[in-house]
């Protein structure tokens, strides 16, 4: 029989639908149409993007030329822009603001690979530093209240470019889903005197049925109330409300964990489309020390349809316990170098 499960943080229920049961092995490789145009994110094509905001590059190399290893550029079609003054407008019952904010693209590699599993750990580390650095830099703009870092991979997940990249949208308001999480965490702390995510980490380590990987600083689980098949959270084991406070040791560990998780996912389902989102505490507001930052990876193997849009609830045909067993059992079989070579295409 199906089961209704409540997310322990927010008031979101998911239906683990056994009648529609799909075991991990029932999912097939996803076929992605090969793009044929030149890739604007590849090394050598720097002029095809808007001028870079910042890049980690060899000393002496010029802006918007090769010599970088991580490069951050404004989105070519930005949803929000940093220029101008923020003003609000009330017209009858309607409330609006002009589109102040930031919308950036973090190019995660010089070569045309599609994911973190095809990168070296060192390179993934550099990407995590880039996320942190942008997060620390943008919060200097007092108008911005939230810095949302996310990654779309695969066309079903809304990616229009194949080349591995993440994005950042900074908004002058705290998104409703983050606010609901903050409220959920506060309520839990009021009732139990502890952090719900810290307690989740403890219970998961204790039960060992939803763990994918455990490292020194991070626990990777398929959460109890997974909305999506293979939904995966990467959680710092130590309470830390602000991703901006991540230290060097954690960055190194997170890079290794990210590489390992995406390695497992690629072996599980080739070209698995996914969204990854970083949930952290707001900026330029009263500090939210209740918050516990984490990464959520949401594979897009099921469609978000009318029921989900109507209710905010999700139907997930694959129990997380099954997903994590399958992911746990995957050994990363390819030696590193081979994985890198497979990932690199001769595309541009």
């Amino acid at each position: 029989m199906s089961e209704l499960r409540k997310d322990p943080i927010v008031d979101r229920w998911v239906i683990i639908a056994t009648e529609r049961g799909k075991r991990p092995m029932d999912y097939k490789e996803i076929i992605e149409e090969k793009k044929t145009q030149a890739c604007p994110l590849c090394e050598g094509n720097e002029k095809q993007t808007p001028p870079e905001i910042i890049a980690y590059r060899e000393p002496g190399t010029a802006k918007d030329t090769p010599g970088w290893w991580v490069r951050i550029v404004p989105n070519k079609f930005p949803a929000l822009k940093i220029e101008g003054e923020l003003f609000q407008r009330q017209h009858g019952i309607y409330h609006s603001m002009n589109g102040i904010g930031a919308h950036e693209v973090i190019v995660e590699s010089t070569s045309h690979v599609s994911g973190m599993d095809a990168q070296t750990e060192k390179q993934v580390e550099e990407v995590v530093w880039a996320w942190r650095d942008r997060s620390l830099d943008l919060r200097k703009d007092a108008r911005l209240k939230y810095i949302q870092i996310f990654k779309n991979t695969g066309s079903a997940a809304g990616a229009s470019l194949e080349h591995t990249h993440s994005q950042l949208i900074a908004t002058p308001i705290v998104p409703v889903d983050v606010r609901m999480e903050i409220e959920g965490m506060k309520e839990y702390a009021d009732r139990h005197g502890s952090c719900v995510i810290c307690d989740m980490v403890m219970q998961e380590i204790d039960e060992r049925v939803r763990i994918v990987v455990e490292s020194e600083h991070f626990l990777v689980i398929n959460p109890f109330a997974s909305r999506f098949p293979f939904e995966t959270w990467i959680i710092p084991k130590k309470h830390q409300h602000d991703f901006g406070q991540i230290n060097e040791e954690q960055v190194r560990d997170l890079a290794s964990v990210l590489k390992s998780v995406f390695g497992k996912m690629t072996i599980m389902i080739k070209n698995m489309p996914y969204n990854m989102v970083l949930h952290t505490s707001p900026v330029n507001l009263q500090e939210e020390r209740h918050y516990h930052w984490h990464l959520e990876i949401m594979p897009r193997l099921t469609l978000i349809a009318g029921f989900e849009l109507a209710s905010g609830y999700y139907i997930n045909p694959t129990p997380p316990e099954m997903a994590s067993q399958a992911l746990r059992e995957i050994q990363e079989i390819y030696p590193l170098q081979e994985r890198i070579m497979t990932g690199v295409s001769t595309y541009v």
Copy 2:
């Protein structure tokens, strides 16, 4: 410049992204792959579905045989089931229930058409009656707290069958999105002494920039904070919290409005994939007279990606004012009979 707009009911902001601006005419026909298997929802194939729950049928015709015009069957792969006793479980920090509820399919036509625009008004009326009748019948089960009626059309909207149908999922809990709407409506009423949706109807009739169609009993608008291009709401002009209270005159009018709206959408973008959801007040709980029921049509021309999943906010490249101008200007050019004939394929 882009604009951030707040939904007047819930705390949901959308980014109307002018840099990504897509005018209504920029959207192209959607190509749907023709299904080749026999359709289990067509007249004559009644044995291919689970036994019918109820059908509107000619007197003297037998259950699960032809002679019906609207037919309601259990979903073959139900997310929830009516049988059994509802029990809750708390395990550490996790809370769950067994999957009690209902999951039904409303077959809206005997013939293999894909939408309401290809039906007669009389037939659409019968579908609206079916929604009402199921809603009234299922609330007799005191365990059920919400009856969610929705319709997925097109593969991008999660429809696995082409044949026009809607679905119903009844849950033992009130979905979070409905609860947020109820709270939003209550707060507004506390502050202003009036219903936010009634006020929205007044302001929209006054301004006439987001109206698609207006009939005696319904106002059809592209809402101010549209999440999706061509998002369309059908709102009863008179305050009514419970869809189950719809009367004969309203049913007739709603059928005509639905046919007209989908007629316009089909002319605008052939095979437009969409989800339609009915938002109404919960059942078997304290009456929510603040609520104002309405239908939301969400075309699926853009993808829900990382930013939307992370924040609960949406990026919409097409301002609703542009969408409604385009939809308003469409005259329903095909005579009824021709539309019906075009819609009917010789499929099975």
